[in-house]
């Protein structure tokens, strides 16, 4: 194939007056504005573009669009490297640099091409059978290095991406004649209509052919109010008519840091798919050589880009379209040596003037290794006529068409096999989606336009949508392979899957096309088998004596085409990676030297290290200070929910393990929240503010799911209960004053004397005031010390901290963070749901067996706790651990086991800290039969290290709980 530019008028897409310079494998080449990388390479006579995935066979440009299986390159632009770009879609711009993939040291001489010689040893699924001794891992690195496509960049992507939502009445996908007609009719019918066109200009085949009628169609669509979006590819149809599409914004040039892609999320009342059809390749030996390409692609390169992909052309045909293309190529000046039609004469319904046509003939061999230098024409039956050499430099494949049924299938539509034209077409409509044009199996232009207009009008006006008048392709054979030929006949060019591989799969009794795909890899990777799927399933059917309709297709799943991670991520990078909740008093904490970390989606202080102090040392100092004096803590993230209604008490009894209805106003009680499986999902304190009014504290990370669970149970199960659930976490700040001198500090700044420990008992709540500031003060403790949780209007949190600060520091106290809190609660043996528990932990596992037995009323999860598994004596149970030597910290997450794997683990360490109070390590663990093993010696294994430990009684500090009361 020796490409060259054709003289005008050919080249509707290019601007000859605007030359462009670009790099391919380090060589400077010239192209024109409007070129794709593929058209520019072909115009420069570049035949060898890359190497194949497995066998490293030489590969060139095969198509002219999204279906491209072989013309894959990496684009390099400064620090950017975009892997696996289809050269057929890459718009050329000045400075574009492309590199071949999967080859070393270069595409012309590739060491990996040795795989071609080893091909008999590398059939489908070879890695399931070979390279097993002594171990697959020995070979895996080399095998993986030899296979693959492009290389991803290791540098951060400096480009920007965004996500946009839109709502339309009719969304038309495809900018060809069918799409334009449907969109125009819909818009004229009054529907808000958007048309998505994957390419830089709408018009489809008629457009690049320069048909003047198409300009009028585009103008008419614009006049009708159709919003036409170019460079926008719909890649998925999801539930409720959600269509996702990517819009390429950089277009012809890329500026670092520029907005590069936009992810569109359309909600459409109706979707029209007008994505056209993909040409099916012919199957013959050597059909992967550079210089073999789809016939329609060569036609498009000639007319749209003014590129003759070769001078002497042979067309391997299995459809009437070959003759139209033969005529079209002759018209641009290319010599068509012959059309080798695989079909018998009786099937052929067209001819090309001045072109030699041989029926029942196929290509028996391709001459040339890295480019086509000729071919051998043979009789399809292998013997009726003698072989003939044809000295061509371009072989075109015209094997019929495969309608693009992907979106129809994604939307839930079924397919049917049209035997005459050997294609799958939509079987009726998919929910919310109608196909028009070639993707519906409708090919004659006039019928396409008429049907599409009727569809557009019907969708706009709510009429019955007309069925697609499928037809217009003539007759094609289902299979074009040569049964007797020697040499590899490729089905899937991208994955190096040949007829022999499908044959092997059939021999090994793979009958499902889904299994065939996984076993042979046909239809995988960047092209998702757009040119191979139908051939593969037809062949499987042939080999297993089934019709293609019986074999069926693989499930078409989104995305229709590769989507960049950047587009999916959108703005969610850096600090916007996920929404973090911010404390109202963040500035106050920052001014006190807070070291912020992320806890349960909150950005909050882990500790407040002094100069030169580590996080560990700071936490130790803070915990010590709380035990000995007083600590100030911002507990604002603590989940807060108000429950109101006459049945609130009854509802809380149903939701919590504890009984809340017996609480008097002003009393509070700890509660465990279970799901319906009896698993502990949250805990907290319920306080009664009034007869039907409760204040519920949840864990900081659990408030949304707890509120949602409350709502779900109220709306779905306990529908007779009158309860209103209102989350108020954001409304209330929480300043916790904790330690033996807590009340002393509070009294010093003027808190109401009624809050003193001798008048306000542990586990009570008071509505109080601090000056004009309304407060809800709860006496509850997660540290084991005298503790006041002061809930106040959130905007006053910083002020309150500031007011208490001198009173706290004046008593030797300090502000403390999450790390100190974890130490303090571990010293007391208090659980932290999610740290000490997991998705299997039942209340009995953490010491709540008596509470369960003592509650007669029903509650969520109760029935699950009656299952035998819930009463299994081998269950993991919460215990306290101390190292046998009294000094070695037990690593959190370490396994409790007598030996290293495969010895079965008996449990694991869940929380472990150095106790500043005891000056020794303290730990909590989940241990099999833990409640029976007090005093037992156990082994903790961690990264090959063994640590002896003893099961001890919790709490480690203040076992009688006297400090709670001040």
């Amino acid at each position: 194939m020796s490409g060259s530019r054709l003289a005008p008028p050919f080249g509707t897409r290019i601007e000859r007056s605007r030359p462009i310079s670009f790099l391919f494998n380090g060589h400077v080449l010239a192209g024109l504005q409007g070129d794709t990388l593929a058209s520019a390479l072909l115009a420069n006579g570049v035949r060898l573009v890359g190497r194949s995935f497995k066998l490293h066979r030489p590969r060139g440009i095969f198509s002219c669009g999204i279906e491209e299986p072989t013309g894959i390159v990496d684009l390099i632009d400064g620090s950017h490297r975009t892997p696996n770009v289809r050269a057929t879609l890459a718009e050329l711009h000045d400075g574009l640099a492309a590199q071949s993939v999967n080859c070393w040291p270069g595409v012309a001489f590739d060491v990996g091409s040795v795989n071609g010689w080893l091909a008999p040893l590398l059939p489908a699924g070879f890695y399931y059978k070979t390279f097993k001794w002594p171990t697959w891992r020995l070979f895996e690195p080399a095998v993986r290095r030899m296979a693959g496509l492009g290389r991803a960049s290791l540098a951060a992507d400096s480009d920007r991406y965004e996500e946009v939502s839109a709502q339309v009445d009719v969304l038309v996908i495809g900018g060809g004649i069918a799409g334009l007609c449907a969109a125009t009719a819909a818009a004229e019918g009054g529907a808000r209509t958007t048309l998505l066109c994957a390419g830089p200009v709408p018009g489809g085949t008629l457009g690049w052919r320069g048909d003047p009628a198409i300009a009028a169609k585009i103008a008419k669509a614009a006049r009708a109010g159709v919003t036409i979006m170019t460079r926008t590819l719909a890649f998925g149809v999801y539930d409720h008519n959600l269509v996702c599409a990517t819009e390429q914004l950089a277009g012809t040039a890329t500026l670092p840091g520029a907005l590069r892609e936009r992810l569109w999320k359309f909600r459409a009342r109706s979707i029209v798919s007008a994505q056209g059809a993909t040409e099916r390749p012919m199957i013959f030996p050597g059909n992967d050589r550079p210089g073999v390409m789809l016939a329609g692609a060569a036609d498009k390169y000639a007319h749209a880009y003014g590129v003759a992909c070769g001078r002497r052309v042979v067309i391997a045909a299995n459809g009437d379209s070959a003759y139209r293309i033969a005529g079209s190529l002759r018209a641009v000046g290319m010599e068509v040596l012959a059309v080798l039609d695989r079909r018998p004469n009786s099937h052929i319904g067209a001819h090309a003037e001045g072109v030699r046509s041989l029926a029942h003939t196929a290509i028996g061999r391709v001459i040339g290794s890295s480019s086509v230098r000729g071919c051998i024409a043979v009789a399809a039956d292998g013997h009726s006529t003698p072989p003939e050499r044809l000295n061509c430099d371009l072989i075109l494949s015209a094997g019929g068409y495969a309608p693009a049924v992907h979106l129809h299938s994604q939307a839930g539509g079924r397919l049917r096999w049209v035997k005459e034209a050997s294609m799958f077409v939509p079987d009726g409509f998919a929910p919310g989606l109608v196909s028009v044009g070639a993707c519906a199996g409708v090919f004659p232009q006039a019928i396409v336009a008429e049907h599409a207009e009727e569809v557009g009008r019907a969708l706009a006006l709510g009429f019955t949508v007309p069925a697609a008048p499928v037809g217009g392709l003539g007759r094609s054979l289902a299979s074009s392979r040569l049964g007797t030929a020697r040499g590899k006949q490729f089905i899937d060019l991208q994955n190096d899957v040949a007829v022999s591989d499908v044959g092997l799969a059939a021999l090994e009794n793979y009958r499902s096309v889904e299994h065939l795909k996984r076993y042979t890899t046909t239809g995988m990777a960047t092209d998702q088998g757009k040119t191979s799927n139908v051939d593969a399933l037809v062949l499987l059917g042939e080999l297993t004596r089934r019709e293609p309709a019986e074999v069926g297709t693989t499930k078409y799943r989104p995305p229709f085409a590769p989507v960049s991670f950047g587009a999916l991520v959108g703005r969610r990078v850096g600090s916007l990676y996920r929404p973090l909740k911010r404390l109202a008093a963040v500035d106050w904490h920052a001014a006190r030297g807070a070291l912020f970390e992320h806890f349960g989606n909150w950005h909050r202080p882990a500790a407040y290290p002094l100069a030169g102090e580590s996080l560990h040392d700071a936490a130790q100092r803070e915990a010590r200070s709380v035990r000995r004096s007083v600590g100030l803590f911002d507990g604002s993230p603590l989940g807060k929910i108000e429950l109101w209604g006459p049945d609130a008490a009854q509802f809380l009894d149903l939701m919590y393990v504890g009984t809340m209805s017996t609480l008097a106003a002003g009393q509070a009680r700890y509660g465990l929240l279970l799901n319906e499986h009896g698993v502990v999902v949250d805990d907290g304190i319920v306080a009664r503010l009034g007869e039907g009014h409760f204040w519920v504290n949840t864990t900081s990370a659990g408030v949304e799911r707890t509120a949602a669970a409350f709502e779900e149970w109220l709306q779905c199960e306990f529908t007779a209960l009158k309860v209103l659930v209102t989350p108020v976490t954001s409304r209330f700040g929480n300043v916790t004053v904790c330690g033996p001198k807590a009340w002393e500090a509070m009294a010093a700044v003027g808190f109401d004397a009624a809050l003193a420990p001798n008048s306000m008992r542990h586990m009570t709540i008071r509505e109080s005031a601090f000056g004009a500031l309304p407060l809800r003060v709860l006496r509850a403790s997660f540290t084991g010390e005298l503790s006041y949780e002061i809930n106040l209007p959130v905007e006053q949190t910083g002020e309150m901290l500031e007011r208490l600060w001198p009173a706290v520091t004046g008593r030797g106290g300090c502000v403390y963070g999450i790390e100190a809190l974890e130490i303090l609660r571990t010293e007391k043996g208090y659980i932290h749901v999610g740290t000490d528990t997991d998705g299997t932990t039942l209340p009995g596992d953490i010491g709540f067996a008596r509470a369960l037995d003592g509650k007669r009323a029903n509650f969520v999860g109760r029935r699950s706790l009656l299952r035998p598994a819930a009463r299994d004596p081998q269950r993991l149970q919460l215990v306290a651990l101390a190292p046998a030597d009294g000094r070695t910290l037990l690593p959190t997450g370490a396994q409790v086991a007598d030996g290293v794997p495969p010895t079965r683990a008996e449990g694991h360490v869940t929380s472990s800290y150095w106790s500043p109070e005891l000056e020794a390590p303290v730990a909590l663990a989940m241990l099999a039969r833990g409640s029976e093993r007090l005093g037992a010696r156990i082994c903790v294994q961690h990264l090959g290290r063994r640590i002896d430990a003893v099961v001890v009684k919790a709490p480690f500090v203040d076992p009688l709980g006297e400090r709670l009361h001040g």
């Binding site: 920007r160 965004e162 996500e163 946009v164 939502s165 839109a166 709502q167 907005l259 999320k265 909600r267 703005r571 969610r572 600090s575 916007l576 996920r578 929404p579 973090l580 909740k581 911010r582 404390l583 109202a584 008093a585 963040v586 500035d587 106050w588 909150w602 108000e642 109101w644 209604g645 006459p646 039907g692 009014h693 009158k722 209103l724 209102t726 108020v728 976490t729 954001s730 409304r731 209330f732 209007p793 959130v794 905007e795 949190t797 910083g798 002020e799």
Partner: protein, 181 residues
């Protein structure tokens, strides 16, 4: 001190301005019987409960203070006002009620005022179409990955009601988006 959004420079680009309206007070009105509570509101505020996904503007009968009453859910509406009087008035009249209660969310829910010809374009980059209200509507959904309630005050003028803890995230997202306008 402690006011969200302080670290973000004035958000204004392409004719769009976004600012936290710190004067807005928010109260969640919760009720079981819609009709009964609507009558109460009508008596107190001169305006009954809004229809689904709608909001109503009015002036409190007692205090002549303007307010917005917006639908949130079948048992919840929000009362927005600059002065405490409308909220206090409703709270007073529901104090003895077994049908309804008032939960003051002032300070916990903040109002972002957005205006400008391209505000809809901005909202389309924050949330899904179903959550973007038309004029006269109030709808809840996710904006910039966080839950929020949007109020379509006028053409090109919206309120976005969002939990205080999320405001910084939302403003940063909006700032990033406006950079590309």
């Amino acid at each position: 001190m402690d006011e969200p959004g302080q670290s973000v420079a004035a958000l204004a680009a392409a004719g769009i301005s976004v600012a936290i309206d710190r004067s807005v007070r928010v109260a969640a009105l919760r009720y079981f019987d819609v009709e009964e509570f609507s009558l109460l509101l009508h008596r107190v505020l001169g305006e009954g409960l809004p229809l689904v996904r709608r909001f109503a503007r009015g002036r409190c009968i007692a205090a002549e203070e303007p307010f917005i009453l917006l639908w949130r859910a079948p048992t919840e509406s929000w009362l927005l006002c600059a002065a405490a009087a409308p909220i206090d008035a409703v709270r007073r009249d529901t104090a003895a009620s077994h049908n309804a209660c008032v939960v003051d969310q002032t300070g916990g829910i903040l109002a972002l005022h957005m205006s400008g010809a391209r505000t809809l374009d901005l909202l389309a980059r924050l949330g899904s179409p179903a959550s973007i209200p038309r004029v006269g509507e109030a709808s809840s959904g996710r904006f910039a990955d966080i839950p929020a309630t949007a109020v379509g005050l006028d053409a090109g003028e919206f309120l976005l009601l969002v939990e205080r803890v999320h405001v910084d995230h939302l403003l940063e997202w909006i700032g990033e988006t406006l950079t590309d306008f």
